[in-house]
Symmetry: D2
Subunit: 314 residues, 4 copies
């Protein structure tokens, strides 16, 4: 079928290519003219035959919002917009309502696949009403990996991005579990063949997984990870997972631990631990030095104005 794609970066460009290989008529627009099939968004709309389908694959947030605004004006009733970016699930409802007022359909699609997607297909989680999702099935069928899995119509508008968000939350937790296990093995020196141990786990164990395969590959390239800094960005979806959990009173200790570990990894020094050090100084051994140093000055010794109120309080 015919589809327009807005945003021909790493993800959008490969998806367009995969769809073309599958025989679809793809018209791509990108703000970089050298990769764009059309001069602007208006020409994209003109090139598509109604009822149109337009897949938006631009950064979440402002860029997606601006694109939806423009499409809301340029498209016609009966057209459909798909947001395949990493939008927050609460934005989907807004976009669906905004487009819906003009009779334009909306589907949100969480897309997983990264650099292997072009060849192996993209895992898709989509949200929207059945009719809109149904019209887009030829596209979804070509994008998804072969086999029975890799695609789900997860629910109404927002469900696709919500599912993708939770997927990423689980991913955070799993990566953290592997990372902690590796650190413990490295720290203890009891297991002397750490890469071999991880490699052995790829068969017959409970933890065999694609992440384990990647971990083994990483240790194969750099057995001590000596080339790397212990620094990890977070993509936004980990934060949204924790915030959604807090909104809904769901305890999420392991995934949250993974998120906080990433936050900490980006700090040169921990402010909280400065405060812990400061408190230890106040009541502990370091303070002794200060006490002795300050005794000469007289009344300013630690404890002088601190302890008595509590001391006498009981």
């Amino acid at each position: 079928m015919q589809i327009g794609i807005i945003g021909l970066g790493k993800m959008g460009g490969n998806m367009a290519e995969r769809l073309r290989r599958a025989g679809h008529d793809v018209v791509g627009y990108d703000r970089h003219p050298e990769v764009s099939d059309v001069a602007d968004l208006d020409e994209l709309v003109q090139r598509l035959q109604a009822p149109r389908a337009v897949w938006v694959m631009v950064p979440a947030g402002d860029a997606t919002r601006a694109t939806v605004d423009k499409l809301c004006e340029a498209l016609s009733p009966g057209d459909i917009v798909v947001d395949g970016g990493n939008s927050h699930y609460l934005d989907d409802k807004k976009h669906a309502d905004q487009l819906g007022e003009r009779g334009i359909g909306f589907v949100d699609a969480g897309v997983s696949g990264g650099v292997w997607g072009l060849q192996n297909g993209y895992a898709l989680m989509v949200g929207g009403d059945a009719e809109n999702v149904g019209r887009l099935m030829p596209i979804f069928d070509s994008l998804k990996p072969e086999g029975e899995d890799g695609f789900v119509h997860a629910g109404t508008v927002g469900a696709g991005h919500f599912a993708k968000m939770v997927h990423n939350g689980i991913e955070y937790g799993m990566m953290q579990a592997f990372a902690e296990g590796w650190e413990l093995l490295e720290a203890t020196d009891i297991v002397t063949d750490v890469p071999g141990t991880f490699a052995s786990w790829r068969t017959g164990t409970v933890i065999r997984s694609w992440l384990l395969d990647l971990l083994v590959r990483a240790l194969d390239q750099d057995p001590d990870l000596a080339e790397l800094k212990g620094y990890a960005e977070d993509s936004g979806e980990g934060r949204w997972t924790v915030q959604a959990a807090v909104d809904h009173a769901v305890p999420l200790p392991a995934i949250t631990a993974a998120l906080f570990a990433r936050f900490s990894s980006r700090q040169d020094d921990s402010p909280a631990m400065k405060m812990v050090a400061a408190l230890r100084n106040q009541f502990g051994g370091h303070a002794v030095t200060s006490v002795e140093g300050q005794h000469a000055k007289g009344a300013d010794a630690p404890g002088a104005d601190v302890t008595p109120p509590f001391q006498g309080g009981h």
Copy 2:
């Protein structure tokens, strides 16, 4: 080769069977005579030709210690004992030293595989010196799954059980990550096809894994897990992982969160949360009722003896 196996329960029995199918000469002893090949441990030793290899597959702790004590007396210099149970890695060193004084070798083997091991093989992590491990390789080769993975000589004595312990710690963290993601999906009602969403993730995503396959199977059998109580035992190895981390000053937040979640799952009511409730009662709305009820009694009103010391303290 010839090997004695002590303990022919679910694990030991299947391992004996797998070794026999591979052509090994297995002599098994179990305290239940109906499954045992010999009357007692002495007969087991007599039936084996020196230098002997004896695989101990009994519960960790007292049972394993008692078995090692007996073997220390019954075996001869040059024999080897393998502890394939779930022993603590610090016990391995003690057993190796104890047996070593009599010239008997020792190898510890962490074994993974559960109910599929007989058919598919057991993942093995072994610790010991190279000569002892080398002599046992025919046994390890037959027990392990086909292919290049599934076996590692992880280090010297203790390394096998340590590796298995860390494997289980990682497993705790991964299971918790999946469990948290499922709870969030169930709690929010945004994704309406939760089993389908997990099923879709089996292809093309970062989190594809054997645990995900098991999770999909579990939801297939019981989509809401309505048949289950939220109650999870811990095997001991999760605790040891956390304790080893604490001993070595390694932060392990996600794995520890998984362990604590299991502890909590077995409490009818949380004592800690009783205390939180009690504290909230003391300073909050509930206390108001008490205050009013006690005002008639006069001086016993809350706050009377609590607040003034701090109030006046500053």
Copy 3:
């Protein structure tokens, strides 16, 4: 000075009373006519002399928003509104902007004190510009406890509620720390005089605090907390603290642990732990029973379709 107070519940009513005792001219409005000085909000405004000061003490969220909407119409340029409820700090900016367009000032005030506030005073954290805060100082001075502490002008609009929010987050963490310590003492039976131990800590230790005093009082009334359920609500501010931390990439593990413990305390059964139990069933001992039970049925045995893909994958 003269002040209007909207909302004469437990907090607002006591604050009005404390201000009257201090000689201020308080006009109170409440939707319950029996406690209200005026018939409606319009009469409240009429009774106050310009430039007016109106303290809003109604539930955060819709009720506060609706009250601000009405005051925005009813008040005049030069008047000031104080939001003393538990509003989210991001709402403060909206209210300040909304009122500011009509020339009406806005100050947010985080108020702590609970049932002892009437007698001992209310700790106040306020946000707003210096002029508005300055005009209200006679009110703040009468509400706050005696002594030099108990009041802070924390920053511009929103800072008061933000400070109160962080205060409550710290409170969550401290309460959780005490509660965990108590649970450990109760669970181990090594310390046989638990209430006496906590009581002894009130003098000379690092953890002496008002919360410890409250804890001792609670154990004095009910030594095993046998009368209480391990169930704890959360006030909203704990959630906001965690969400603000996530927004700003600040790791907050202890406070978040406290929040999650409250979430868990309100669950009859843990959905996440159901999933952990389900996964354990799939690969563990329970599954054995099923395997044997189902072997008679043939191909449906667990593992049949699960294991091979991974088994053959390596």
Copy 4:
């Protein structure tokens, strides 16, 4: 009464001084002759009249064990040994049994007080049988702070050190709660007077405490804690608290978070986060670069041997 004290360091020396000021006959021994009253431990024993009381105040672990060994030989039936150091509670039982075989009594004493103890007294938590504790009450009464609190006979042998251990665990959690709150305030810049905010909380709030007083003092000396590194040692008792909790299946999330935060604070770089970074590289954007770089080399491109097994597996 007469008492011997072994170990006249910062703690032991001040305790000896406090006891002398109270009129007790103190004979002190220290391996540094310049502060010791006697030449060696034998002379100490000779100088004391039977039945003797000897307070051991040396580092926990080897030093305490060695001292108990020597006292076991040098003392006589009817004498009492007090271990006032930071020993592990499980060591107490061993020491009590060892001394008990010779008819020598044993009491363990957890001691809190730090640099203010000499002047203000030491909070004491003691374990042992009633007779032994009773005999030492004159000493305890002089060491403890004035007032009714500051001393508890917590239970039998080990209970004193266990109580002190839990006290320190709670202390870890409380310090972490304050530290996290401070970091959040500093990170967000919404509250512009952070030291003033903490200072204000000293009166009328739920979190008023001695630690808050210390925190305010620390910020008074260094408002941004610019002089400090975010580095915090742990004393051992925090680790023991977590390990005791794990032993007894007690969830301790906030206190454990505090312990792990200290572990992390001492790492130059987080090994776990290196692994997270490595995994992100394997499946994410960075890997793209590698893929392109390696495509020229042919079959070695990432994904080639990683993806197919899982891809084809379903």
